[in-house]
Symmetry: C2
Subunit: 339 residues, 2 copies
């Protein structure tokens, strides 16, 4: 049975959203996942409607959204996040999920669960929608490592490939490098080096490297994996999110503040707009996954509601079933021997 | 009289769009601008309907979109772009506009017009829409300098301030640094240094530095000037553009491929959607301006039509009227003396 350690006290809607999300995921599961809720049992117990496959582990401290990450993880030894991470480290759970303080989650991942051998800097992989299919694409690193070196980014490409194969069932995922133009000589010094290294791996048959991709084309299915340093990835991702939201809000505004004509038009287009909103709803693709640790760590948005947690837990179970970590460990061990 | 040197042969719709755009701008002007079209006179002459304030200077070579920039500018001595840039250098025109090869335009700006004293690397400033007003915001550097050093970005902040004051009539423009979080300690090593330097200038009263801004908030009027290195700026900008376009296209698709309900809804919402499309149409704000040269160089999209060229020429005239270059020269000379 898969065991998921859940930081039940992290996030804007904790603990309610975490408990309700776990119950939704349990109801939809094949009875093959245990959901371990770490948090204040006085608060958690009354929230659990049906305790089948749900277990509470008491934790009497909470890491707040604005706590300084390293200090919080070190000092708050009984925090729900810390105890959940320890359970994963001790093999009592397969992976960790939190909607709380992102920095603290990364620190807990690094300090408590630990990096996998051969991986220098873990990377955050996130799945995003594309316009013309329901599969979407992934971006790695979406922001775990702002000071990325060339070799880190090469590892993100390899991690992205393994993730796409194991979790997303793509046999030969396209790997593109986010750059400021599609030509081979584009980019700053670092990105030109990344291109060269990725091209070598492509020529060696180790990656299906398709070259540079531009942030403007990502939603149009130009690549399966968009590889990037954490700083650029963060800017591209936030530009995409912010802009889609702005357009959707402008349309909503023009309907609600409009006259009869706009209101009727909005009413008629409602199902179509809902379908679009659903397609662009990246929470459907689960949380982002910090790859390169001894166990996967899954981060969902701080404002996650029960449904977001439900999607993230489903995706967490997929990750656990996929043997992703074993595969990464094997491939990076192999690579080591080749060096 | 303001004189604008136009590379009439550059761009996907050259020379038609350039000639038609110049005539539109002339018709809307106060008879105070001369439009000098550089290009093949055999082609250009028949296109000009009314030659008032429009002059043709013959150029018998053209730099193609895929020409290697440095080589093209050096070898094609009679190219429309090269002759237009020389006219600016020689004081026969106040600024240069092209819809052609971006790299070649930058090279022509650097090699022929020349950098302004005190400016290390010119930066591209672009004006973009925001959701809740018609003024928009500017981003500098939008991609001229992918390998930006900290001191380059500090100069972009200063250039962005002067541009906002002179061309956009903002007396005390807000200056924000694009970063991967709003807190002061966010970013990679370089962006943390940029923050520190900008904060010093803010404390000295030289800039209205409002701190870090995130790409996701740019369309929501969080800053007047978004300062960034050219690599990040390019990724954020392209993420924003691509995402807005993707959402708009999905809505269009759902209307055109939908049934009667969607078609009627689309018809009713058409004026509202048109208004939104107009608001988000960044070509209304004119082309992007390469700042830090002895004269401004204006770049419009390769696919510019007559209307885009018209907007860009209007904005070019504003730039010329604003005495921007004199102001930049004075302020950077002052700065030099302070050092």
């Amino acid at each position: 049975m898969i065991k998921i350690a859940i930081d039940a006290m992290g996030g804007d809607h904790a603990p309610q959203a975490l408990v309700a999300g776990a119950e939704l995921a349990r109801d939809a599961s094949q009875n093959d996942v245990e959901y371990i809720l770490f948090g204040d049992q006085e608060q958690l117990k009354p929230l659990v409607k049906n305790s089948q496959n749900i277990r509470i582990v008491h934790a009497d401290e909470v890491i707040a959204m604005d706590d300084e990450p390293v200090r919080a993880v070190k000092k708050k030894k009984n925090a729900s996040l810390v105890l959940a991470a320890q359970a994963v480290r001790n093999g009592e759970a397969d992976l960790l999920l939190s909607a709380g303080n992102t920095g603290a989650l990364m620190v807990a991942g690094l300090l408590i669960i630990g990096r996998m051998k051969g991986i220098n800097r873990p990377g955050l992989i996130v799945t995003l929608p594309v316009v013309d299919n329901d599969r979407g694409f992934t971006m790695i690193d979406a922001g775990a490592n702002a000071d990325a070196k060339v070799e880190n980014v090469i590892q993100y490409a390899q991690l992205g490939k393994i993730y796409s194969q194991r979790v997303r069932a793509l046999s030969n995922p396209r790997i593109g490098l986010i750059n400021n133009g599609t030509e081979a000589d584009k980019g700053d010094v670092n990105h030109r080096k990344m291109y060269e290294e990725l091209e070598k791996l492509g020529q060696a048959g180790e990656l299906n490297f398709i070259g540079n991709v531009e942030a403007r084309d990502l939603l149009n299915n130009v690549t399966d994996v968009a590889v990037t340093d954490g700083f650029t990835g963060n800017a591209a991702l936030k530009g995409i999110e912010g802009s889609a939201l702005a357009v959707v809000n402008m349309i909503k505004d023009s309907i609600t503040t409009g006259g009869f004509r706009e209101k009727l038009g909005g009413l008629l287009l409602k199902p179509a707009l809902k379908k679009i909103a659903k397609k662009m709803d990246y929470t459907r693709y689960g949380g982002s996954v910090l790859l390169g640790l001894k166990a996967p760590v899954i981060k969902t948005h701080g404002n996650s509601n029960a449904k977001t947690i439900f999607y993230a837990l489903q995706s967490a179970a997929d990750v656990a079933h996929s043997n992703l970590v074993t595969e990464i460990a094997t491939q990076f061990a192999d690579q080591k021997q080749q060096d």
